[in-house]
């Protein structure tokens, strides 16, 4: 395997370089907007309101469009979690962000030994499917001043990630 991998480095470098350059030149998401969004009421029991003002339904229902029978697949969510959240988070270790095992049902800012931003320390909220959906859509709308700038744009992707997180319980 070592030799095979070493040989590949040289042979693929030029092609990958060109591919990466082409990717870098492709159009970026024109929907991204720096405009501030209205803050939501971040309490465990209050109905959450999306930045667009719509009352938030169950994220799984929102993603599927018709209800729980088409619930998002936790397996797809795991892949998305690794690809999109894995730069900063893991299930069992605090890294750039806090560990995620058992996150559903946990109070925000509640992982021991993780140094949260002041915004998260002050946040009075329990992570549920609903609150996580709002958070992943735009963290700053939930906790202004949070260090998490990453947003998951597609509702179906958020629902899948949350479905996966719901399966990752404390051991």
């Amino acid at each position: 395997m070592k030799t095979q991998i070493s040989r590949r480095w040289g042979s693929i470098a030029c092609f990958a370089s060109a591919a990466a350059l082409l990717w870098a030149c492709s159009p970026q998401d024109s929907t991204a907007s720096p405009n501030p969004v209205p803050a939501i009421q971040a309490t465990p029991t209050a109905p959450l309101v999306s930045p667009s003002g719509a009352t938030r339904a169950d994220p799984v229902q929102r993603a599927a469009g018709t209800g729980p029978s088409q619930a998002a697949d936790a397996e797809r969510g795991e892949k998305l979690y690794k690809a999109q959240c894995g730069a900063c988070h893991s299930l069992d270790q605090n890294r750039v962000g806090p560990l995620h095992r058992g996150v559903v049902g946990r109070k925000a800012g509640g992982v021991p030994d993780f140094r949260y931003s002041p915004a998260l320390q002050k946040l009075d909220l329990v992570w549920t499917a609903e609150t996580l959906d709002t958070w992943l859509e735009n963290p700053s709308a939930v906790a202004k001043g949070t260090s998490m700038g990453f947003r998951v744009r597609k509702p179906e992707d958020r629902a899948a990630i949350i479905s996966f997180l719901e399966t990752v319980t404390e051991e």
């Binding site: 030799t3 480095w9 990958a16 492709s26 991204a32 720096p34 690809a83 700053s140």
Partner: protein, 193 residues
């Protein structure tokens, strides 16, 4: 940008109250690429940018450490070590650019942790061969490319381009690593983000 725009002294006071100071060096750097936004953004927006950019610095610290751990693991062929060290140099370049941006905004860049801390959080003890190391690196690089793309909407406009450029670097690294591991080229467009 918004009706909350305030003159510079007020912004400095607010950032200072949050434990951040606008240094002389920071003022000097304001003549550089990040000055326009400073002159028009609210203190709240600047403080938010500092928080997000500091998370990106933490990400780069971890990436630099990961390549250091890999290079000294004894698990890699010399040619692979050379490429890893080159990638590490890119991450150091990212870190330096981000540190400059945070200081320009009057913030304090987050410090790196110890190599032992990173080894623990990355579960480096579980790495037993070159393939394990490359898979770890690929996961981090792929995640970093997505992370930079995903945080662009939360950042002030002056930082959109630099974040996109860093995402491009991470995507380049991920492409090299994925091919080294023999992963097929993705069939669909819009691979990241």
């Amino acid at each position: 940008m918004t009706d909350k725009t305030v003159p510079l002294p007020s912004r400095r006071a607010l950032l200072g109250s949050a434990g951040k100071t606008l240094s002389i060096a920071g003022v000097a750097m304001m003549v550089g690429g990040y000055a326009p936004r400073i002159m028009r953004a609210s203190a709240e927006e600047l403080s938010s940018d500092v928080q997000i950019l500091n998370a990106a610095i933490a990400l780069e610290h971890e990436g630099i450490a990961a390549y250091q751990i890999a290079a000294t693991s004894g698990l890699l062929d010399p040619a692979v070590v050379d490429i890893g060290v080159t990638f590490q140099g890119h991450h150091k370049g990212h870190r330096d650019e981000l540190v400059k941006a945070v200081r320009t905004l009057g913030g304090t860049p987050v410090e790196e942790k110890s190599l032992d801390d990173y080894a623990k959080s990355l579960n480096a003890a579980s790495l037993t061969n070159q393939t394990d190391v490359l898979k770890l690196a690929l996961g981090l690089e792929r995640g970093a490319a997505n992370a930079y793309l995903g945080l662009i909407p939360s950042l002030g406009v002056d930082f959109h381009q630099v974040a996109a450029r860093m995402a491009g670097d991470e995507a380049f690294h991920a492409a090299i690593l994925a091919n080294a591991l023999g992963e097929p080229i993705p069939k669909n467009a819009l691979i990241f983000g």
